[in-house]
């Protein structure tokens, strides 16, 4: 019965359409439909115009520097020399740090919230984790400067230096704690709730027959997770991680507060650095030349391209596998 409703109601609608006088039907419908189409078109146009404005703003820098901009290290506004290498490196490294810490943490939280926690804990902890995503990045950045950076400098960085110093990545801590690593940690705080809440929703969609079947075969909770839950949701979780990556790549304010606005690529993660988004936020208001503005737009263009690519990858991964979404 219920499976037949869709075609029959569509048939009914078609029948109605032929019965009703056309003028009465068409005016209101056409107006509402037109408004809705207009809204959709505006949404699409905004997106296109975003791309246009960014490319247009970047044009002087593109024609001046070309693709060499990507590999050029120096960023010297007073001398009219601009290159994106430091920012690209900083963006990549902070995002990688954030994802390396956030992915296991967020998946564990999602597992806890979907499979392990008692219901009474779930309904409280779940919203709390999502609340973490609601904290404005400017407050996280301010908190980071006052609380997190000194703590990292005094405790975490020396400890990591002692254990992993030989890799060269964890060198001697600097004086302030403002570093690429600290920026990566604050990004972790922003990315965890995104990955966790998306993954939790995915874990909840795993068919009960599968998990209960595994349990009936004598699997422990962890074996159910490893053998059934994670494999069935793997692509969805990957998509969630890609969305988290998109967030980490584009975050400007908290990173600008904590990364220390350095101009050199350091192997030592405890040194300062910069990211594309942070540099834009810090310098667009008071540029010394039009070329600097254009170079900042060029950085934004790079961010835009990377952002769209990660988003499309996330869509491609989830649409291939995400049964839940495609049936809705």
């Amino acid at each position: 019965m219920s499976t037949r409703t869709t075609p029959s109601s569509r048939g009914a609608a078609r029948a109605l359409r032929s019965v009703l006088p056309s003028s009465e039907r068409s005016v209101g419908d056409a107006v509402l439909r037109g408004l809705c189409v207009l809204a959709g078109v505006i949404a699409g146009l905004i997106l296109i115009d975003v791309a246009y404005q960014v490319i247009n703003g970047a044009r002087p820098a593109i024609s001046r520097f070309g693709l060499g901009f990507l590999g050029h290290v120096e960023w010297a506004p007073n001398f009219g020399r601009f290159g994106a290498a430091v920012m690209l490196y900083g963006t990549a490294v902070t995002s990688v740090i954030a994802l390396v810490i956030a992915t296991p943490l967020a998946i564990a939280i999602a597992l806890y919230l979907s499979m392990l926690a008692p219901r009474s804990v779930r309904v409280i902890v779940g919203p709390l984790v999502e609340m973490l995503a609601a904290i404005p990045s400017v407050i996280l950045g301010f908190w980071g400067i006052i609380i997190l950076a000194p703590f990292m400098q005094a405790h975490i960085e020396p400890a990591l230096h002692d254990v992993l110093g030989f890799t060269g990545l964890f060198g001697a801590p600097q004086t302030t704690g403002l570093s690429v690593f600290t920026a990566g940690v604050i990004l972790t705080v922003m990315v965890v709730p995104i990955i966790a809440s998306l993954s939790r929703d995915l874990f909840l969609t795993v068919p009960r027959e599968l998990t209960e079947g595994a349990e009936a075969l004598g699997a422990t909770r962890w074996e159910v997770i490893r053998g059934v839950v994670l494999p069935t949701t793997f692509s969805g979780v990957s998509a969630a991680v890609m969305l988290g990556l998109g967030r980490a790549l584009g975050e400007a304010i908290a990173v600008a507060s904590l990364i220390g606005a350095g101009n050199v690529i350091h192997k030592n993660l405890f040194q300062t650095g910069n990211t594309a988004a942070a540099r834009i936020a810090l310098e667009i208001t008071y540029p010394v030349s039009n070329l600097q503005t254009a170079s900042l737009f060029y950085l934004a263009l790079i961010l835009l391209v990377i952002g769209i690519v990660t988003n499309l990858i996330a869509r491609a991964i989830s649409s291939r596998f995400d049964v839940h979404r495609s049936t809705v």
């Binding site: 109605l16 039907r25 439909r33 404005q53 973490l132 400017v138 962890w222």
Partner: protein, 305 residues
Amino acid sequence: MSTDQPSETAGFDPTGPLTPSGNLRRRLAVSRLIRGLATLSAVIAVIALGLVVYVVIARGAPALSLDFLIKDPPPSGPGGGIRSAIIGTALIVAVGAVLATPLGVLTAIYLVEFARPNSLSGRALRMALDLMQGLPSVVIGLFVFGLLVKPEKADSGFAGSVALAIIMLPLIARSSQEVLMLVPRTLRDAADALGVNRWRAILTVILPTALSGILTGTILAVARAAGETAPLLIVDGIFTNQLTFQMFGHAVPNIPVSIFTAAEAADPTGFTRAWGEALVLLAGILIANIGARLFLARQRARMGL
């Protein structure tokens, strides 16, 4: 839990004690370890939230007083209140919401009610909304900078509203879409059976049913946009801290940018006011969030979902 029981019967000694041994004991230990780690992860996340909220309250509360909320700051230097920033933020966010809400809701109606499920236009629009939601907020800021600020050669509160509207639009469209899809099919069929026109059915049956959900989604989107700093810094960043209602051609003072400016300043005398502002902003956002969630939960319970 239930996982442990069946495996224990695998032992063949019916008289033996029912305790796991050997391999099973190891498997259960691993399982317990993982459970412990997962719990620990959740605890870490909650502690992180608690730490941020605690610090903001502990440092912001001393700054807070009635005067702090209803007085303007002096033209420069520390002290005074943050009335102008509160009203400015409210103004920018409200105008942004007014721009974004109709667009978002209409887009959602188009996707749910008009576009055929797998039509090209529907898929393209969905993708556009996804991409828009994925835009870094600095890129949105630069877009509005290029569109409105550069030609005018002046920061403006309205430009800030437009930027926030672009941040809200996909969020509102997405949440409205989800709520509209929850409206029971039977309501549509009933409207059809009564010979009600499509537009009338949408406006008088479907939208009212979905209204509470749409409102909740809008509030969450507004709360999200209220804390956005990067776009405001770019298009509405240079303001005097005095109250103004001129949205066009004038930068409007706002809380996020003042916090950021104070935090970046070398001189810590502005910190007290910044913490006070952070507390006001965070309180507003968290209250809106919690309120919207409670409202939604009550609504869900009433609809029996």
